[in-house]
Homo-oligomer: 213 residues x 2
DNA sequence: GCTGTCATCGGCCGAACGGATGATTCGGCC
DNA sequence: GGCCGAATCATCCGTTCGGCCGATGACAGC
């Protein structure tokens, strides 16, 4: 190992930042070149510290979700550092989004120290690193791909989880009630349910709609 | 400060354990006497390390929830160490349960280092420490107390979020559909909603029912 | 013994829902 | 030009839901 891997930590939890710092600094061949609580100055920080790898939390802040992470990932220059996403959530669609947006790897926060260190090394070399549960789920998804809801359907689903009636949804979206029912029928089929309570449940569990109204 | 505060860390995330250790060891007047990934051997550990304070994560593992935490808190001897609960969730009922079960304080994981260290000192002396958002929510709750669902109502709610119809729920519980409707009416009133989709939404968000079926 | 809460059940009715079926329009794709 | 998915709308029909009324028994607390 000629040069140590330069790591930049982005996480809004001081505890987690300190933990990652402690674990990685103690490891051979890894240098933590900086940390930040959020992605606000990420481009600037990357330019100043020139890391090989950005280690980031998927969920930063309460209202902010994977979209933020995706924004950060995409804001990085193409030839820039690898991005390793670290999170406590393994059920979220955002995972997929982050990976599709170009994250190099994805790990859960309960990952053992040695695995994490190994992952940092491998991700820094451009290798894709996925946590066990995530990897297996992705594999499953390839085998039996979960149907994707269209934009309109997600919109309807949002109103559904808010507890609105078909008529209310129709009014909100300026479409007829018949159309709402039509969309709902498609949603039910895709989610594998047959009523709105079950759809609400599934939507919230899968993170298809925002958690907070 | 004659004697340093002896702290025991319980958290299933290696990263968090390392972070707390690093932050607390660096602070004056605090000694970390041990850590554990879960509460399995908590009584034994407490006996061996005689901590002044147990710093624990509310959510340990995926399936395990606040009940586990509560169990741990209650398993400790009365005159034992103070318990400071640390978590990423500030929306959960479990918070209340943990506090009611005897936790000395409650902090969110994004708490700044200095506040955390201060909280450890204060909690070790038996003082109640609550994170800002939590404290204000508790205050709110005192002002307009949220109605508590009865055991039966929670049971019904569970079936509701599973997407079952009234008739199905009735069959499962060996009661009549009329009774189910009666319970549902009470649930709606208590939750401030007027249909099952909204009730499902609220139940899942407030953590009134298990997250995974 | 009175009061309150909880759980149980019944009937009635209008509103909402879900399923089935078919149709139109529009845009992208080969 | 033909095909397809998406979004839109419509009609029909049986089922389910939610609101409203009232009722009973059990049990705890005062």
């Amino acid at each position: 190992m000629a040069e140590p891997v330069r790591v930049l930590i982005v996480d809004d939890h001081p505890v987690v930042r300190a933990g990652l710092r402690a674990m990685l600094d103690a490891a051979a061949g890894i240098t933590v070149v900086g940390d930040a609580p959020n992605g606000d100055a990420i481009a600037d920080l990357v330019a100043r510290t020139s890391p090989d790898l950005v280690l980031m939390d998927l969920r930063m802040g309460d209202g902010v979700d994977g979209v933020e992470a995706t924004r950060i990932v995409t804001a990085l220059p193409g030839g820039g550092p690898a991005v390793l996403v670290l999170t406590v959530y393994d059920t979220d669609q955002d995972i997929l989004r982050a990976i599709e947006a170009g994250a190099t790897g994805y790990l859960l926060k309960d990952t053992p120290t040695d695995v994490l260190i190994d992952a940092v090394h491998r991700a820094a070399q451009g290798e894709t690193v996925l946590a066990g549960p995530v990897a297996s789920r992705l594999t499953l998804r390839v085998r039996s791909p979960e149907p994707t809801l269209t934009g309109r359907e997600l919109e309807i689903l949002g109103h559904l989880t808010a507890g609105r009636t078909n008529r209310d949804i129709a009014r909100h979206l300026h479409i007829s009630e018949a159309t709402v029912k039509s969309h709902l029928a498609h949603i039910y089929t895709k989610l594998g349910v047959d009523n709105r309570a079950a759809a609400t449940s599934t939507a919230l569990r899968r993170g298809l709609v925002a958690d907070h109204p």
